[in-house]
């Protein structure tokens, strides 16, 4: 039968959001004590856990060490129970390898690695529940974890996916929208300077639309950054209250 109507004439999406609205973002920092930094982030029904170790000495082969900056090691994985159908996801499948690589590139752009030569920073991200926008949720969670670990960054890295439906960019796609044949784009932004850390799109889109789509993605990322900033401030406040005692 007729496919899903992703955007109604009244401007509402499947789940009742308007085109530029994000899903509800909730996050907590410092969820694990043993790691150097950790964060848990929910963006709608997508839930991710990020853990950071480091900066520490190079583990494994020392030859990978860089003399002028730190190496960032990212590992992305999905929990077997993260999707509707339970699936075994072996480590190192193509999709997660690619995602790990993207995360690595994103954080190399944001973390001030030159402060830690010959060392390594590990970022582990796990998707606990997946409902679209896995990459961006991972980036947002990892940002919080990195901040939690006290590793200096140029700025928050905020990511968001946008899709293009009926000549309108939709921010923060959920799974139903992502799978509805929408050409989507993922963008990671350093919001204060407006620098793009990563831009990824593997669908067909006419050049004319690209600009408006990036524009929408950047606005959405800035929205995310506001939420993250609030979470960080909240966390700091709580932490400082505790330490004062």
């Amino acid at each position: 039968m007729a496919g899903l109507e992703l955007l109604s004439d009244q401007g509402y999406r499947l789940d009742g959001r308007k085109a530029a609205e994000l899903r509800k973002v909730q996050a907590r920092m410092g969820v694990f004590a043993q790691a150097d930094g950790s964060a848990y982030l929910e963006q709608g029904n997508t839930k991710a856990l990020a853990v950071v170790y480091g900066p520490h000495e190079m583990r494994g082969s020392r030859s990978r060490a860089l003399h002028d900056r730190a190496v960032i090691n990212c590992q992305y994985s999905m929990a077997t129970f993260s999707t509707a159908e339970r699936k075994r996801r072996p480590h190192g499948d193509r999709k997660s390898t690619e995602m790990s690589l993207h995360l690595k590139q994103t954080f190399e752009a944001a973390v001030m690695t030159q402060l830690f030569p010959r060392s390594q920073i590990d970022i582990y991200v796990k998707i606990l529940q997946s409902d679209g926008g896995n990459y961006s949720v991972c980036v947002n969670a990892a940002t919080l974890a990195v901040i939690n670990a006290g590793i200096p960054m140029r700025d928050y890295v905020c990511a968001c996916t946008v899709g293009f439906v009926d000549e309108t960019p939709l921010a923060d796609l959920c799974y139903a929208e992502e799978s509805g044949g929408v050409s989507s784009l993922a963008l990671a932004l350093l919001p204060r300077g407006g620098q793009i850390a990563l831009l990824q799109m593997d669908a067909r889109l006419h050049q004319d639309h690209l600009e408006s789509l990036i524009e929408a993605a950047m606005t959405a990322c800035k929205g995310v950054s506001k939420v993250l900033d609030e979470v960080v401030r909240q966390h700091l406040q709580e932490a400082s209250v505790l330490t004062r005692e």
Partner: protein, 945 residues
Amino acid sequence: MLKSKTFVKKTRSGGVMKVVREHYLRDDIWCGSEVCTECKQESTVLQEDACIESNLCSYPHYLVPDTNVVLHQIDVLEDPVIRNVIILQTVLQEVRHRSAPVYKRLKDIIHEKEKHFYTFTNEHHRETFIEREPGESANDRNDRAIRVAVKWYNNHLNTLKSGPGGLKVVLLTNDQGNKQKGQEEIEEYIKSLIANPELVDRLALSDDNKNEITSSKVLFPEHLPLSKIQAGIKSGSFLQGTFRASRDNYLEATVFVQGQGEDSTEILIQGLQNLNRSVHQDVVAVQLLPQNQWVSPSSVVLQDDGTAKDDNVDKDEEEKVLKLSAAEAARKPTGKVVGIIKRNWRPFCGMLNVSQIKESTRHLFTPADRRIPRIRIETRQAATLAGQRIMVAIDGWPKDSRYPNGHFVRSLGSAGEKGTEEEVLLLEHDVPHQAFSQAVLSFLPKMPWTITPEDMAKREDLRHLTVCSVDPPGCTDIDDALHCRELENGNLEVGVHIADVSHFIRPGNALDKEAANRGTTVYLCGKRIDMVPELLSSNLCSLRSNVERFAFSCIWEMNKKAEVLKTRFTKSVINSKASLTYAEAQMRIDDTSKNDDITESLRGLNKLAKILKRQRIENGALTLSSLEVRFHIDSETHDPIDLQTKELMETNSMVEEFMLLANISVAQKIYEEFPECALLRKHPAPPPSNYDILIKAAKSKKVEIHIDSAKALADSLDVAKVDGFAYFNTLLRILATRCMMQAVYFCSGMDSDFHHYGLASPIYTHFTSPIRRYADIIVHRLLAAAIAADSTYPDLMDKHKQSALCTNLNYRHKMSQYAQRASVAFHTQLFFKTRGILNEEGFVLFVRKNAIIVLIPKFGLEGTVFFDTKDKVPPSLVFDEEGPTLKVEQHTFHIFDQVKVTISLDSSNIQHQKIRMALTEPVIPDVSVPAPEAEPQAKKQKLDR
């Protein structure tokens, strides 16, 4: 507020999956009423004084229809009287799932400003969203959601302090459960509307109204439920296909089953029981009958003349006629319809057969399209509607009723009048023919229009060239012009200049969308339904003489042997020196005393065209034939006064050759530049079985036709001649034309076979008539992008969107051709109406089981001579399929036999007035009629004066 929606879904592979979706509830969804001060809405839709005068609801009110009311009574909702309606999202979504056409119409209404329809997104409103309770079915939940929304509205409007008060919301429903909860029924409501009695007829019959005419006897087998059908299709016991009723025989139909790739089959369905209430164009599930019950398609022409009274009496007899016809060899897969997958009902045009009982409100309606069964409708205005063309929609077809039930939609005017008939013709062929809307016209260039220096800078100035156009007489939308001149190096420069419509129609605006929807200009006799507004079609785009016009030029450098050395495309400005008709151009070429530039140019073109044509034919292009007629129309009464077949001159083919060349050149260019999204035109080779009739026919005259390739066919058609029968070759070509497939537009990224069979060209497109074909506009845009004269836009580069566009264009094209043919037929009838009975010579074109089909070359007219008339004892008829021949008494008819017939107009059935032909020669006692006297001739002279 956040809610989570959880439901389980069955996947395609049969597994059950749990789906969890977020569901946000908002408090910024406004009620859309003008009265409301609480809602912070930017614009309101619903008016303050929402007055539909009704006895039932005397207070001002907004209407809220429920899903079933929308689905069944969309005709009523479309009426301008019904305004200020709230469509709930729940309803909209349910309609969307259940019927795409109704959904489309509903959306059209919502978009119409004057109707004041407001869509309320109740599912996402914090106060109107409800959750499904345990044990509650989805339908019940939706009904409850509708009631909750109505209640909310009533409370909301009541609490207003500033409002006038008394404004209420009325739920329209047919549902018993809803009704008990104190709502209005649509039927009662509509009946209560003051001063709109005709609306009552537009109400669709609801199912619970027991039909008293129908007997208790069940006529049809039950349709299987959809789940069983799907299971059956999956297991292969049923087949899914499109139902196509036969035009000639109401008891016969075929179901076209689309297989994978090329292999698609046709299944024959015979008899009322097996047809099982399918209507033309429905998507149905068929079950094949065991092989021993297979039959062959009957060649009998059978029309449903049964009277409204006794439905089931003589049917069995007629079916017997069918059964006899099963010749062993010609049996085809036969099946029966077991269920309907999708109805494809639309409003049908036709006429009312007024019931003999004067007071009766139930009448039979006969659609103009013979493939549609008659429909039983209920109306109180039968007396006024008799003799009028009306539109009727089908509501349903219960299994105990011989005919489907329907309701009256609107009247088109009295039958037989030219205006009405034209309207019917356009409606039946789905030709959009309303005047252009203001939104569309707003995108026209402002007059007076001039060429600006910026325009000139972007274009090549070709005003100095001796360009001229050659067209049929009376043509005002000139989209092509030509020039030819000798270059210094001895070669020739030939230019084809096409009106630059894409300069005026910019992608995506209302004008463009309207043109894309119309797809093509439709030419009826004496009337033209434009694709683009007249300002463009006959003025700014039309390449008229002695004015400066924008053109898209395709310029070749050719040597004297017509070999293309160089091809160049450019946007240009031209100034045509002359607009000639084919005859004028021909005269100039033939007149040796004329030696001006235009004539020289024409001669050069003509010479090259002859070479091009020869080359093309050597390559295997087909020259086919079909008779086209031209009416001379009286300038005052607009009635046809004379009829002649179109003559073809050398100049016709001259223009054609260069258009073909331009189209091919452009096709190559755009395909090279945009291999994924070039819009091309292909003409598939017909399957060999299509040629059976041609081969058989030719064999009867001892002529052999080879069909191995287009070239072989063209060659064998060329040599096919019979001494003393000059017309034979033309007849063969006419038959060959009937064997061909339809040429279609397609998107190069979606297909791999590009061949154009008829033109024997590996690639082809349409470039040369952008004023009257939308495909050409797209090709212009592609070509402009290819030569960097214009930019691309997203939809142009999207092969799926383009492919959807092609589907529409192909459909519109086909329909415009049918409309054109129907218009010619109608005018032929008008013509013969004034002529009385004529006596003409003709040829047998086809032989059927009880009739022969005769072609009258003089009028390009085809007609059927029946041998079994109802009121007479039929003569002995022996039909031989091999010939095919038909033996009537002592005389045997073959294809191509020359006969003499009388032609007259049969107006006994005002709806289907038809040309009646009766045999005068050869004389067969009791069958042929005596030749009429010379009286009609005298009449003709009188008229011609």
